[in-house]
Symmetry: none
Subunit: 229 residues, 4 copies
């Protein structure tokens, strides 16, 4: 208990309380998704888990959709930020992608937030990455940072010759994102993750390693393309 705490005014305390509630709701919602899968996820369920009334949820979020979007945004922005820091400035684009996925696997072990990431995405916008931009505007905004990052790394890899350069380079980026998205999504649907966290992480590591090998140009020594356990 420091002097700082005493100084903190009522205003500030209330704001913090409110943030706490928001966070509580998001946390419980996340946990519900992780435990039961995205399918069975009702406002009633969240309310019960938070020991709040359904009506109260609407004080903190406009919509059911708003809750999902917020979880998604938070998870994505946290991941993008951490990953950006971990990616070495020097080195090839392929190595950068390797670092990106290594970070993913590492964070996955800690919080599992990332698992639900694209599960939510697909729930909100099942047409991605095909749908019209119009409808999926919110989602596009939320994921823009991550998509941009991956695209830039692919371009970097194509420039430095570490990434296999197919005729249509733009399509390559799309494909990689879709595969990653799809796999994470599939994994995210698994309801009771505690039980087989290790198995899941292994599956994703294998997947990312396979993608890396698929992306690698012939110049690259592919035996180096593994992600640490």
């Amino acid at each position: 208990m420091t002097a700082g705490h005493i100084i903190m005014g009522i205003e500030e305390r209330k704001t913090r309380e409110k943030e706490k509630r928001r966070y509580l709701i998001l946390r419980k919602a996340k946990r519900l998704i992780l435990e039961r899968g995205i399918g069975s996820f009702s406002m009633q369920d969240i309310a019960l888990a938070c020991e709040l009334s359904k009506a109260t949820l609407y004080l903190y979020f406009e919509n059911k959709e708003a809750i999902l979007i917020e979880i998604l945004e938070e998870a994505i922005s946290e991941f993008t930020q951490v990953a950006s820091q971990r990616i070495p400035v020097e080195g090839t684009g392929l190595q950068a992608l390797q670092a990106l996925w290594a970070t993913y696997l590492e964070l996955l072990g800690e919080s599992q937030d990332l698992v639900i990431l694209t599960g939510i995405k697909n729930y909100l916008d099942p047409e991605f990455p095909f749908g019209d931009a119009q409808a999926s505007e919110k989602f596009t905004r939320a994921t823009a940072g991550l998509v941009d990052l991956i695209e830039s790394l692919l371009h970097r890899g194509m420039s430095d010759g570490s990434v296999y350069n197919s005729e249509a380079s733009g399509r390559q980026a799309r494909t990689v994102i879709m595969i990653a998205t799809a796999v994470i999504d599939t994994v995210s649907r698994v309801p009771r993750p505690q039980r087989d966290t290790v198995l899941m992480r292994n599956s994703m590591r294998n997947t990312f390693e396979l993608i890396l090998r698929g992306l690698a140009s012939d110049k690259v020594d592919r035996s180096t393309l593994w992600l640490s356990q």
Copy 2:
């Protein structure tokens, strides 16, 4: 009432009529899934499309789930059968896999049945390929043939040196199946496929090509690993 009818027997005729109805229901259900996506189609919708009553559906299928399982089984078994025939007896395991996916893309253009394949899978058994075998017994049975086929091709490739041989060869098979599964699933969620069939097929072709390159050992000339348009 001809002699022929008498010979066929009432019993047999009834059985055939029943089979016809089952087939009608499955066909219409498939079409609905393809048109609207798996999320939003109800027993009511199927009944309407078949010009039957909802109650009648329950005479032929125990459940909504049962209908989906049957569609899944049919699509898989048809694909497995056709693919088995197309795969060259001679040639490497990798070439065999290449042929497998080429077949997939080809059939996709014709019937699109295959698109719904894993869409249904995820609806039925979101835990695959992680869940306990107990729970996903039905699904496992339905997909057994295809899983076996892919596994055998991978093993063949590892034996003849065309497939990159990681330490854990069994895991490799799982991973490949999961990626394919996941990507097809993601693609299968797009509700109105008529509009962007070409886009979808391109996405999947890119994906399969990437996987093939990822699987290829260093001995293989990777520039040959493309799937025809």
Copy 3:
């Protein structure tokens, strides 16, 4: 029990049963409106009154609105039909209007359906007679017959000199309809009508008499413009 009853097939009997249910729902809904006013009128209430489940109501009507529209249409069409028959072919336009309202009061005594007529109208389309035609299309269709009838009678009266001819003859029609509408509406809100049916009918008779006197041109002997009790 005639031979006709025996001949009546299952098909026909079912259709009649279904009609009965529809009618039951409409009748109970009407009664609820009459008893409690339009304000407190929920699907739950109707379901309870009919001893049916809420879901069942949706088998017979697409919407809550659909129920109201049907009640409205039925009441209006019945009234318009009966009124048309009662209106003398010969005689002035004013006398025709007199006959119209006499019919209204008479039917009101029998069924009270007509009371709720414009109550529903205002619930469905509060902007009438001002709103844009776009939004109130359904209502316009339902009431078209009656509005046409009143307008034609007013024109007839203006032609034969029995109705006071203000500069803008079209506006006159609108005004009359609005007054009638408004008054009936006001009356229709009274929840427990059994108690003061007589009072209500008197009020409306007075109103219609006042309107008739207001419409009458100077040529008309206004002492004849009363509506029988």
Copy 4:
């Protein structure tokens, strides 16, 4: 802090502040009713408009109903007061009624307060003018002044022969009040009044003119019974 403030007294200042708030709430509520119609405005809406919290509203008014009643009383009493002044002491009862409605139309153009008058009435007391006095006591109190005024003018008109004297003179008064009430009510439901203020005023002018002509005895030259634009 000036001497003036000290003289005014804390008590008095508080009272004035409180009055200010009450007034603010009433004013904003009125505006909301005029803008959106009575059906769709919530306590939340008022609170937002006043930049107060919902809870605060309950410090000044017991109920949502209480707010409506107060608006009603204020509008009526203001109108009654102004109208009383405008009504010529000399002249017939019919001329007095003409002046009354002319005043109404004039004030309507300025403030539109009066439009909401009976809209509120019907919301509060749908049974008027039929219900038992017991239930609608509050409303009766609020409208007493205006009802008294109209009744007295009608009696005056019947006395001086300008108003058509039906057998039951008391009933005549009731009817007139109900018509006016009903028409104003109907008009008041139109949500966006800015757009068609002119249309609304025309409708009401026509209505009042029709009523005047209906009330006029045969002695009166009915061509004089118009209300200026």
